[in-house]
């Protein structure tokens, strides 16, 4: 049909529109996510020494290795390049206490990859945040090892602020807010320094990898709940800012709750998801059996994500029917 044309047209690609696409890929998203965790990881190593680095390395390597092994055994393409396994490994290491023996991150990363991710079919299909699944398994299996925390720069055992307040509510007076925010407290490796988390959070929000709805409504839920308690009895309930920075709330708000696969996608769904996760966190902290409820709260809300997704935006043009 095209014999007369002097221009060679062979090799033209025909496919459906759109013909141009944005630069964001899953690989890029995960790499940026890893980068946003860097401040928290570096501060963790600074505060808890080389054992923190050792835990992170073990966790990341185990996660990547097990993912590749399973993909090899099930004859699937290897996906270590998308950095998702590495991200799971690093996130898990950052919420482990610095005191854990070497096999805790190994078992944890294995559970995260196998039970959390691969049994459901890999990235995109799992219903619960794999990091939190692994954390819960570790917490239930070795509760005393998972609640042994070190004071910064030492290996002296010390209770985290939330554990201390759980035992004696009035103890919150003894904590200065600025040291708490800067990380001068015992706690999981990556969650102690609020400043480092916020630096990563600003980066991850401006890069558009997560949306502001979940983190902000999560923190708002905690703030509102603790403000009400504080208003009722300021003597036994700590101030709002204490609840925001003393435990894993900041880390959970920016790096665990908005995990794409297991969080809702609609604006209303995300707002409610975050808010209820925040409220649940506070309920567990106040009346539950654990000092910090952040991770449990997020896991519980993960289960309800399909319901939150039913809060759809109003489709364009529907209002006009009346």
């Amino acid at each position: 049909m095209n014999k007369e044309s002097p221009i060679d047209t062979t090799g033209l690609i025909v496919s459906m529109s759109p013909h141009i696409r944005g630069a964001t890929t899953v690989e890029r998203m995960m790499r940026t996510f890893l980068l946003c965790l860097l401040p928290a990881a570096v501060v963790g190593i600074y505060l808890f020494g080389m054992r923190a680095l050792w835990i992170m390395a073990l966790s990341v390597v185990t996660a990547v290795a097990f993912e590749s092994l399973i993909e090899h055994l099930t004859h699937r393409p290897l996906t270590y390049r998308d950095c998702h396994a590495a991200l799971i490994g690093l996130l898990l290491a950052l919420i482990l206490p610095p005191s854990v023996p070497w096999w805790i991150p190994v078992v944890g990363a294995t559970v995260a990859i196998i039970l959390g991710k691969m049994v459901f079919g890999g990235l995109g299909t799992y219903p619960f945040n794999p990091v939190l699944v692994a954390w819960v398994v570790l917490k239930l299996s070795w509760p005393e090892r998972m609640s042994l925390f070190f004071a910064p720069h030492t290996t002296d055992e010390l209770l985290t602020p939330l554990m201390a307040v759980k035992e004696d509510p009035a103890l919150f007076y003894s904590y200065g807010m600025l040291p708490l925010f800067l990380g001068q407290k015992p706690g999981p490796i990556g969650t102690v320094c609020g400043l480092a988390i916020l630096i990563g959070a600003i980066f991850i929000l401006t890069k558009g990898i997560i949306r502001w709805h979940i983190p902000l409504s999560f923190l708002f839920g905690i703030a509102l709940f603790s403000a009400i308690l504080r208003y009722i009895n300021p003597d036994i309930y700590p101030p709002v800012i204490f609840h925001l920075i003393a435990g894993g709330a900041l880390f959970g708000a920016f790096f665990l709750a908005p995990e794409p696969v297991t969080s809702p996608v609609t604006p209303m769904g995300m707002l409610l998801f975050g808010f209820l996760a925040g409220v649940t966190t506070m309920i567990i902290r106040m009346w539950g059996g654990y000092p910090d409820g952040t991770f449990y709260a997020i896991l519980i809300m993960n289960a309800a994500t399909p319901l939150f997704n039913k809060l759809k935006p109003r489709p364009y043009g529907r209002r006009q029917h009346a």
Binding site: V14, M16, S17, P18, L123, V265, P315, G317, H321
Partner: protein
């Protein structure tokens, strides 16, 4: 200043130079159907000599349009030819004789005295096409429907609304397309006539120009807006925020009205929306001049020369490429329309028809192939950008698993196929492809 927060920001700079006039083609291919509808009936035969503007195809009914010769010369055949939508259509092939002789212009008419039916007759007679995803005869779009739309009739009242606002889009359907913004920045003698005709036909008492905030409107446009004999206003929008230039998001952004979807028409919310290019065609058609030339955007990294090109309808794409100095690089994709919503071509012999916005030759580094796409990771970026508030990721899962009825319930047919979700998807899922597939499956059963 209108506001539009959905969609995506796309590049697309207005060229500072004037429109390039492509040289007269030696040969044109004029498909007898350049829109969605019935083809015209050829009224010339092989060997006939024709002049520019001479009728060569007659309209059969209101869904078909007459066709005019776009160069002077000899009809060398009426044969089947491929058009840019991939259809084989009977087409009139004319070979130029070199002399660009026009038929006698029908003489200047006092267009103020034309009645609305007369204007519609002239628009129909000139064969003006309303460009868009589904190009249709403009006169057909202007006529009020005989029957109220069925989904609207369900509410029990007849909702063929009177049009109160004429929206003239001086921004382009895609930021990469330049024609409307180019026209907004240069004076045109047909503009006042076209506006007057459309106001008369639609009965709109208000005219709203929508201009791009980065384009400075021509003095002619500002004078029309400033001349306060009737209500004319101007709204500026960020034209780089695709798909604000498409009619349905545009009406929302400029007037805050929402066209009922699916199957809605701007008329249902009292709006008539046409772009500057169409208004100028109307201006010409009421003087009895059929569109023989069209303004298209030429772009993409493989073209040596880019910008707005004035070209005779029926010129083959290969001729266009030659007249612009050929390619500088190897094109990977050749597209009619814009890069977001256009159609990929495999044969460069297809002619430029009345419904084509532009021609883009994209190099390999400019396109992204879908290839191995991933499972949806539920990131929600598509929800953020969808201009009609769907959940594209969820819809795509239904479509990929052949659950088309569920997808339909979830609003599949409200999708305007702008491609924003596809553009942002980090899993590189071919969302528009899946939606079109599902729509076809549903329409066939």
């Amino acid at each position: 200043m209108g506001l539009f927060l959905k969609g995506i920001k796309l590049p697309g700079k207005l060229p500072t130079f004037d429109a390039v006039e492509a040289p007269l083609p030696k040969r044109v291919i004029l498909p007898l159907r350049q829109y969605i509808g019935e083809p015209a009936r050829p009224v010339v035969s092989r060997g006939d000599r024709v002049k520019v503007g001479q009728l060569i195809g007659a309209a059969e009914d209101s869904t078909s349009l007459p066709l005019h010769a776009t160069i002077a010369g000899k009809v060398v055949g009426i044969e089947e030819h491929l058009d840019h939508r991939g259809a084989l259509l009977p087409s009139v092939v004319i070979e130029a004789d070199g002399a660009d002789t026009w038929i006698e212009p029908p003489g200047e008419k006092d267009i103020i005295s034309l009645s609305p039916p007369e204007i519609i007759t002239r628009i129909q007679g000139a064969g003006v096409v309303l460009k868009g995803m589904l190009p249709i005869p403009l006169a057909f779009d202007l006529l009020p429907p005989d029957q109220p739309k069925t989904h609207l009739a369900l509410t029990g009242r007849r909702v063929v609304r009177r049009i109160d606002t004429l929206l003239i889009a001086a921004i382009d359907p895609e930021p990469s397309l330049l024609v409307n913004r180019y026209l907004a920045g240069s004076p045109n003698e047909e503009l006042p006539g076209g506006i007057a005709a459309l106001r008369s036909v639609t009965g709109a008492e208000r005219t709203v120009f929508v201009v791009d905030k980065e384009t400075s409107p021509s003095s002619q446009l500002t004078e029309i807006v400033a001349g306060d004999e009737e209500e004319v206003t101007m709204i500026s929008l960020d034209g780089h925020r695709f798909p604000v230039g498409l009619p349905i998001p545009l009406i929302k952004a400029a007037l805050g009205r929402e066209v009922p979807l699916p199957y809605g028409h701007p008329r249902d919310v009292g709006v008539a929306v046409y772009d500057t290019d169409t208004v100028l065609s109307v201006g010409k058609s009421i003087q009895g001049i059929p569109p023989v030339e069209t303004l298209i955007t030429v772009g993409g990294g493989a073209f040596a020369k880019r910008g707005v090109v004035k070209i005779r309808i029926g010129t083959q794409i290969s001729t266009l490429i030659e007249s612009l100095g050929g390619f500088t690089g190897e094109p990977a994709k050749l597209i009619t329309g814009g890069p977001m919503m256009g159609t990929a071509q495999y044969d460069l012999s297809v002619p430029i028809t009345k419904d084509i916005h532009g021609v883009f030759a994209l190099k390999e580094d400019e396109i992204q192939l879908v290839g191995d796409y991933r499972e949806c990771i539920n990131c929600g970026l598509c929800v953020k950008v969808c201009p009609v508030n769907l959940l594209p990721g969820v819809l795509s899962l239904y479509c990929a698993r052949d659950r088309f009825e569920v997808a339909e319930r979830e609003g599949l047919f409200a999708c305007i196929e702008c491609g924003c979700c596809d553009y942002v998807c980090p899993s590189r899922r071919p969302l528009v492809h899946l939606f079109r597939h599902a729509k076809h499956q549903l329409l066939e059963t």
